[in-house]
């Protein structure tokens, strides 16, 4: 039986840690997708512990709840390449769970379909400008890696996509053998999805990114990325409020997806707002 149940949809991973309830973030994101997108099927891929933590309300909101296979690597990031083999969609937008949409991106799918795999390139500050601060990306710059951010990416069921995820999986598994070829690397660095997918993109080529389409990215709310001190969360640095789906940060409306980064942004009040919007109407 085919793994694919629908043509297109969104997928996120939820693997809870001792500090963060990623299942809850995915639930908020699922409601947000339902409220803002016309193509809004949503699947969550969870480990067993997170799967067992879902309540009925959450399970009813998700269109698909998929368990990671037993024996998947314990470091949460290394589960990412499973997205290809577990997604229920022929075309998937894979999201990090701490990202919210402020308006429809239905028209992005048309651009995504120019590629088999499309990683978002660059990220924006809350002012809507390309982020210029590179202190988090020194490894990328030193090794001329494409400036990809895996908080939002697209792939569809093709040989190129399979090759991409197989290669990424092998880099994760063989990290000790790969990292010695990277310049200016901290040898204790745990491989992040951003680094591994950037390496994979470098090997495969530009066909897995569309850097010229600079709207395919998101606002990154890491404080330092926006020119503020990393000593404080952006939530403690500037005002924020909402007007419907639009998030207003420091008096600037956000029209791009917002990677809110500080998990405390996902308040119960916000979840209830979207529950009223989405579940009450279902």
């Amino acid at each position: 039986m085919s793994q694919h149940k629908e043509q297109q949809g969104f997928v996120s991973f939820a693997i809870n840690t001792s500090e963060v309830d990623y299942g809850r973030l995915a639930y908020l994101q699922c409601l947000n997708v339902k409220a803002t997108q016309r193509a809004n099927s949503y699947a969550v891929i969870a480990d067993e512990a997170t799967y067992n933590s879902f309540n009925n309300r959450q399970l009813n909101a998700f269109d698909y709840v998929i368990r990671l296979p037993e024996g998947f690597e314990q470091a949460p990031f290394t589960a990412e390449p499973y997205a290809f083999s577990l997604t229920p969609f022929k075309e998937t937008v894979k999201l990090e769970s701490d990202l919210l949409f402020t308006r429809s991106i239905d028209h992005w799918w048309t651009a995504f379909r120019l590629r088999d795999v499309c990683l978002s390139t660059g990220a924006k500050t809350y002012l809507g400008l390309p982020g210029a601060i590179r202190k988090y990306r020194q490894l990328f710059d030193a090794n001329h890696l494409p400036d990809v951010y895996t908080g939002l990416m697209y792939f569809r069921y093709t040989k190129t996509a399979k090759h991409f995820f197989d290669l990424a999986g092998s880099i994760f598994r063989d990290w000790d053998g790969v990292k010695i070829y990277l310049k200016d690397i901290d040898l204790d660095l745990v491989p992040t999805t951003d680094v591994v997918y950037a390496l994979t993109a470098l090997m495969i080529g530009e066909e897995v990114t569309i850097p010229s389409m600079d709207f395919i990215n998101f606002v990154h709310m890491k404080s330092g990325f926006n020119g503020w001190s990393d000593a404080r969360s952006w939530l403690d640095t500037v005002m924020h409020e909402r007007a419907g789906d639009v998030i207003r940060i420091n008096n600037v409306n956000q029209y791009d997806p917002v990677h809110y980064h500080d998990k405390t942004y996902a308040t119960q009040e916000l979840i209830e707002y979207y529950e009223q919007r989405v579940l009450a109407g279902s």
Binding site: G128, N250, N251, V252, N253
Partner: protein, 274 residues
């Protein structure tokens, strides 16, 4: 919100310059305005209206003089005093359809501002400022929004512009609230901040820089002993220091220089040579 007014409505007879000048105990702003207004009148070939208080005794023959009561004082470094409240009245008081609203310390040395009247706008603000070192004062505070300069404002009579000035008045009246909301560093009320905030709100909570004046303002922050010029350059002298900069409209922070005989001579020479 997009521009409402088109440039074809603009005619040279409906245009003019408006300057606010209120003397304080330390600075004769009307005297400064007399000098800078002569330059604006000559280089822009536009009528100039002075908005001042009843005690003012201007020497320049302005096309119009409107007297109002000044409100509120500001101080910097315990010495420089200025009265900058009520700038939002410019919209209601200007006798012109299209207005260039100038600070008294802005020297118009060319015709560039007139070229903007050929473009479509409701209002245009100055979004960038440079000095000898390059771009300066890019943000209103460490965690605030980008700076906007109210030193030079072009506006046309329109509903949107009226909203802008009304909003500036509201921000002025409730300045402590807006100052906190926008993380503004300074305690003094500044028209720069009020116009930046009003522009942000009126533009749907975006910086809306694209509808601003499409070049950077040049400012001399330092003390000036003497200012010389030729067709291409300005020569700025102070003590043993001298700087050469391309000739352009210039914002001058040294109010003592602007009240000096040297500045009066500079204005006379510029008017004669224009």
């Amino acid at each position: 919100m997009k521009n409402l007014e088109k440039s074809e409505k603009s005619t040279s007879t409906a245009r003019g310059v408006v300057v606010f000048a209120f003397n304080t105990e330390t600075v004769d702003y009307v005297r400064i305005a007399d000098g800078t207004s002569q330059l604006a009148s000559r280089y822009l070939d536009l009528p100039v209206t002075l908005i001042t208080d009843h005690a003012a005794d201007p020497k320049f023959r302005y096309d119009n003089i409107i007297t109002i009561d000044p409100q509120g004082d500001n101080f910097r470094d315990g010495s420089v005093q200025w009265r900058n409240r009520g700038r939002h009245w410019a919209y209601a008081l200007t006798p012109y359809q299209d207005t260039i609203l100038l600070d008294t310390d802005y020297l118009v040395l060319d015709n560039s501002l007139n070229t903007l009247f050929e473009t479509d706008f409701d209002y245009r603000l100055m979004h960038h400022n440079t000095n000898y070192a390059g771009a300066v004062y890019e943000q209103m505070g460490e965690t605030s929004l980008p700076f906007v300069w109210a030193t030079v404002i072009l506006f046309r009579k329109s509903k949107r512009t009226e909203l802008l000035f009304d909003l500036v008045g509201k921000i002025e009246r409730n300045y402590n609230y807006y100052r906190a909301l926008y993380n503004i560093r300074e305690g003094n009320y500044r028209n720069d901040y009020a116009f930046a905030i009003a522009n942000n709100i009126l533009s749907g909570y975006t910086p809306n820089e694209l509808q601003g004046i499409p070049w950077s303002m040049f400012t001399i922050d330092e003390r000036i002993d003497q200012l010389l010029y030729d067709d291409n350059f300005l020569y700025v002298k102070h003590d043993n220091d001298a700087r050469v900069v391309p000739r352009q409209n210039t914002h001058i922070m040294d109010k003592q220089y602007l009240q000096s005989p040297d500045f009066e001579q500079l204005v006379e020479a510029l008017i004669e040579s224009a």
